[in-house]
Amino acid sequence: MHGFANPSRFLRLARAVMPWLLSPGLLLVAAALWWGLTRAPADALQGDSVRILYIHVPAAWLGMGGWSALALASLSELVWRHPLAALAARAVAVPGACFTALCLVTGSLWGRPAWGAWWVWDGRLTSMLVLLLLYLGYIALADAADRQGDGRVAAIFGLVGAVNIPVIHYSVLWWNSLHQAPSMGLATLSGRGPMAPAFVWPLLAATLGFSLLFGWVVLARMRAILAEAQAEARLRRMAIGAGE
């Protein structure tokens, strides 16, 4: 893992991988959303509002997956002091916050026709809102910590915030909720789950497509943060050299 700590090696790898994330990601998202909007069937109970699923579920997955990645990177930063771990955690924060916000907004747009309410204070919705607030807190904390030159506070916050991820997942089982119980799992892939295959395949395609785009954004953010840090360091060295 420490082999990728070399910025030049990371840049070579990122430049090689990014085109393989962007084009297939765009194609998959376009195909899956077209499929979900025009070809997938309407739900027997919810009718056409179920089509929001193909945006809402990938956004939820990336919001939660993003924080899981952020927590792992924070752990790597604290325990192994991996030089790119702090960079990766900071790079995940903004796209993670965006997809969490998208999940909340599309959930609200789904809730109005399905439940008759834009918002209810139940376990799933509230814990997802807490996740968005955690992302915003992390972004502010990491920004302040970077200016002071010590990123450990942000890393500890990233690690502690991971407690919310199992709360989100199990909230629909622990508490009474309007939100449906988990319907995706290994049984779904084998066709024995609660969701019909006609809904599953476009959902998997959309989730994979948005995940590839998320990966592209994270690598682009890492390259941007690395380049900013390198330019700052070079200008600082030049300023010190000129002052001597």
Partner: protein, 46 residues
């Protein structure tokens, strides 16, 4: 008994928001990466 809402405006709004937010995120990330790498190259040339 209440009449069911037409779901299509909500579906279209969700898709439009999802696509616009994803496109904005991709463009912002790509542009900030290009700007930062150009700044690094400029600092090398000084």
């Amino acid at each position: 008994m209440t009449e069911a809402l037409d779901p299509w405006p909500y579906v279209v709004a969700a898709y439009a928001l999802g696509l616009a937010a994803t496109a904005a995120l991709l463009m912002w990330s790509g542009l900030s990466m290009a700007r930062a790498e150009a700044r690094r190259e400029r600092s090398r040339g000084r």
